[in-house]
Amino acid sequence: MLAFFLKRLASLVFTMLVVSALVFAAFEFTPGQMATKILGPFSTQDQRDRLMEELGLHRPVWERYFEWLGNVLSGDLGYSTLYKLPVNDIIWDRLGNTLTLAAIAFAVMVPLSVLFGISAGMREGSKLDRTISVASIVTTSVPEFASGVFLASIFVIGLGWLPGTATLEAGARWPIAAQLVLPVTVIVLYDLGYVVRMVRASMVEVMTRPYIRTAILKGLTFRDVILKHALRNAMIAPFTVILLQINYMITGVVVVEAVFAYPGFGRMLLDSALSQDVATVQAASLFAVLVSVSTQIAGDLGYMMLNPRIRFS
């Protein structure tokens, strides 16, 4: 178990190194391009040469990569050309905001998806099953920006119950709790269906297993069969999938944040990308990958804990 964890940790370090090189290389323009980009197309060759000298751009790529990597590791994430601030000064607030949104969405989504998935999967082909299945296919198929449009036209424009933006500004017309309702709903709608289908599929599979028959023919009530014998087995396979949603919620909420003007991490990534703010995009990408790889490891570990067949082998 420990060996496995260390192995995965080593692979995380390896992945992060490669990813950092890729992220660096993706924005590694030729030095001349870089200078032109900063000084504009009407700069003279002389100006550009001087800038390159100043920025050390004439040095070999790998040297500049290691310098950048060293800076990143020592906590210097560079300077954001969009926000006119060190990246360090913005990224943590933005991460915090996104984490709030993600945590609420996760807390709503997980119990609901387990409840729906288990209820649908325990009697395959029942009316309840078919209703939940089709509903979850439909909700995951609505792109977030489209469901944002639909929900906004009902609750914001039609009924006027909720605000159409979630800028998190305190003292605004709407309390922060109200501002969060629509973003959370959009995330949960999009994500829920997918997880429900995973849980359902796993539950359907478990219900056909002979040990469920053993439990029934032992004289257990259906309720006990589900709760004591089926549930835990049915959660093994979807566990990883559920944890991976953390990853989606932290980095994949770009769209939701764009729809509701939410000052989060995803929004920051998008805005900096649209304005060619290289340092911010690089830092954000590294964080995104780190979160994604870490949740994968957490998922694998949890899977092992849940499954005695792997735990004791």
């Binding site: 060996a3 297993r209 053993t214 032992k218 004289g219 849940l306 004791f312």
Partner: protein, 699 residues
């Protein structure tokens, strides 16, 4: 309907006089409702089971025996339903019980033991908790009481170290141990009826023998009535008082074991008995008789007798009468055949007769295949970066030879290395050390891709699993023509002609060329696989458990086909099997393997008579024989087969050997002792002592 009149007479004399039978099925019909419509799987079945009595229901796959078992449990899934008649348990109609009453009965009064114990136990709950659940629901016991009861039960089913066993998860147990746990769980509440659905199918034969022995003992002790479902007539003989033979959903013959086996009156029962190879007969003394034709489809059941289309005694006008009456031959022996009383007496197979030495065998038979000191070692890496790890010796220092035109059988239980050996011979795996020479050419070091065209042609294989042997995307004709083209270089018209010839050789009609594998039955697929192997006119045919997945009546036909083809073509056959009866029937030479080593090798008649290797002796004793008049010495092997990575240092069989001499067996590899005729036994016990035992199987 007809059974109803006869049922009154067949309860065990004296058993529970006055009390209702434990179980009674009265004209029960069971159907599955599927998209195609109603499938009347069991049209009408009746039987009774007295207290403490055991009935075996036997039949081939799809005959409805498991359906009957689940009907007794009132558990037919969402598509199955009892559509008529009554299932009475201690006089109560189970269909009339409320769900709560039914729950109170299940696990308490009626419990079940299943096929495939591994998947019948919950993988994420420790054994102890699963056992304790039973008294906790049914007797309202607290954890402590339930725990004591569970421990007691684990002891009763002979599981070592019950305390530790309680904390184990199912996957940490061997198959035999798992089945003992399931049996313990079923008997926890001292039920009056135990339903066992193929409880030993999938277990190794020595493990099966120990489990059957345990069931017989517990049955005696607890006086539990048993419905024992099996496809293997031999296991029924070991457990049951009565036997019911099922065919296409009907109980065609039912009676006490001795009556039915000594005097089978239904042509199907006779057919079954004559298509099973037994330890006493071989291909030279008597060919197996396969039952022609196929089981009719449920949607297209013939009028009157269901067996009529395949029956050689059928007389159209009499056998088509509907409904067909059931005849009571004696008080307890019933047969659903109008001609039961007029059939000639049944010739029982010769049993336990000295095997005929291979007489017509040329004295200086030429060894085509020689295996010398062959090893196959897999490296299993564990540890963090794959640094550590251990070696699994799947095949360890094997020495064998096979003669031209003869059959060498390799027998052994799971993990003995027989299939690995086959993979090395085919070149799908490479040998780790040693040599394999085919007609003088070394082949164990050349992967199949790099073998010379002629070697590929010369070595072909027939595989075990009929469902995976043919590519589901390719038609039979395509498969055959492809094989003919690659192995013989023929194409076009020539390939088509050759396909027809080969299909004819394996007794398949020509139209099959245009069929897809899913349109074929298991036996037909195996025939195609044999035809495919024959495409290159091979010198050496490997057959890895080619009949183990087939029903006995089909099995006989395939075995006969192999014998026939080999005789005609003079090819050498290596037949890998776990089934000693089949091996006895078709082999000229036999090698007995255990944990990667050959324990005994010799002519078939020598293997089946003393001197025996102690392992062979135990194997022979374990084989269930479908004849109550044959006596086998009982040698029960305790413990499980060690996993190949924990193989004992000395003799691999030392951990379970009932004749173990002492530390020498644990520590030193046994010497290979050879008799004058070339019979080889790897054992520390001197040959003379090994000769001093009686035959295991005596008629």
């Amino acid at each position: 309907m007809q059974f109803a009149t006869a049922t009154e007479t067949n309860s065990r004399p004296g058993a529970g006089a006055g009390k209702p039978p434990v179980l009674e099925l009265r004209n029960v019909s069971i159907s599955y409702f599927v998209r195609a419509g109603e499938m009347k799987v069991v049209p009408n079945i009746s039987f009774k089971l007295g207290q403490g009595e055991a009935i075996g229901l036997v039949g081939e796959s799809g005959c409805g025996k498991s359906t009957v078992a689940f009907a007794v449990m009132q558990y037919l899934g969402t598509v199955g339903r009892v559509t008529g008649g009554q299932v009475l348990f201690e006089g109560k109609d189970l269909a009339k019980l409320s769900p709560a009453e039914l729950r109170a009965l299940r696990g308490r009064k009626i419990s079940m033991v299943y096929q495939d114990p591994m998947s019948s136990l919950n993988p994420v709950i420790p054994i102890g908790k699963q056992l304790m659940e039973v008294p906790m629901i049914h007797f309202g016991e607290n954890e402590q009481q339930a725990r004591a009861r569970a421990l007691q039960m684990l002891r009763e089913v002979n599981l070592p170290d019950p305390e530790t066993m309680m904390t184990r998860y199912p996957h940490q147990l061997s198959g035999g141990q798992q089945q003992r746990v399931v049996i313990a769980m079923a008997l926890m509440a001292e039920p009056s009826l135990l339903v066992m659905d193929e409880p030993t199918t999938g277990l190794d034969v020595t493990v099966e023998a120990a489990v059957l022995d345990l069931v017989a003992r517990l049955r005696e002790k607890h006086n539990t009535a048993i419905v024992f479902i099996s496809h293997n007539l031999g296991t029924v003989v070991r457990i049951c008082d009565r036997i019911g033979v099922m065919y296409a959903g009907e109980l065609v013959e039912e009676g006490p074991i001795a009556d039915v086996f000594r005097n089978p009156r239904h042509p199907y029962t006779r057919g079954l008995l004559s298509c099973i190879p037994t330890l006493g007969a071989d291909k030279n003394s008597r060919p197996l008789t396969a039952i022609p034709g196929q089981v009719p489809s449920i949607l297209n059941r013939p009028k009157g007798c269901v067996f009529q289309p395949r029956c050689r005694f059928a007389i159209a006008e009499r056998c088509s009468q509907d409904p067909l009456p059931t005849l009571s031959l004696s008080e307890r022996h019933r047969v659903k055949c109008v001609r039961a009383e007029e059939l000639p007496s049944h010739d029982k197979l010769p049993q336990g007769i000295e095997a005929v030495a291979i007489g017509d065998q040329p004295v200086d038979a030429e060894a085509v295949l020689r295996i010398a000191h062959l090893r196959k070692t897999y490296h299993q890496s564990t540890g963090m970066f794959g640094g550590k790890g251990y070696d699994v010796h799947a095949v360890d220092n094997i020495e064998l030879e096979a003669n031209r035109g003869q059959t060498l059988a390799i027998v052994g239980e799971s993990g003995c290395g027989k299939s690995t050996l086959a993979k090395v011979l085919t070149g799908i795996e490479l040998g780790s050390a040693g040599m394999v020479t085919l007609a003088g050419k070394e082949i164990s070091q050349i992967p199949v891709e790099d073998r010379e065209a002629d070697t590929k042609r010369a070595v072909q294989m027939v595989f075990q699993n009929p469902d995976s042997t043919l590519n589901p995307s390719h038609s039979i004709g395509y498969v055959m023509e492809r094989a003919i083209r690659k192995l013989r270089g023929l194409s076009g018209r020539e390939a088509k002609n050759e396909t027809s010839t080969l299909l004819k050789t394996v007794n398949l009609p020509l139209e099959f060329a245009s069929r897809m594998p899913r349109q074929l039955s298991g036996g037909q697929k195996q025939r195609v696989a044999i035809a495919r192997a024959l495409a290159g006119e091979p010198d050496l045919i490997l057959a890895d458990e080619p009949v183990s997945a087939l029903d006995v009546s089909v099995q006989a036909a395939i075995i006969n086909l192999l014998v026939d083809i080999q005789a005609k073509r003079g090819a050498t056959l290596i037949f890998i099997s776990h089934d000693l009866s089949v091996v006895r029937y078709l082999a000229d030479y036999v090698a007995v393997m255990y944990l990667g080593q050959v324990m005994e090798f010799g002519r078939t008649d020598e293997i089946f008579a003393p001197p025996y290797h102690p392992y062979t002796e135990a194997l022979l004793s374990a084989v269930p024989i479908a004849d109550p008049d044959v006596h086998q010495r009982r040698i029960i092997l305790e413990g499980a087969i060690p996993s190949p990575q924990n193989r004992p240092k000395g003799c691999p069989f030392a951990t379970r050997c009932p004749r173990k001499l002492g530390p020498i067996c644990d520590n030193e590899a046994p010497p290979m002792q050879t008799t004058a005729s070339g019979h080889r036994i790897a054992c520390h016990i001197p040959l003379d002592d090994l000769k001093k035992v009686d035959k295991v199987v005596v008629a």
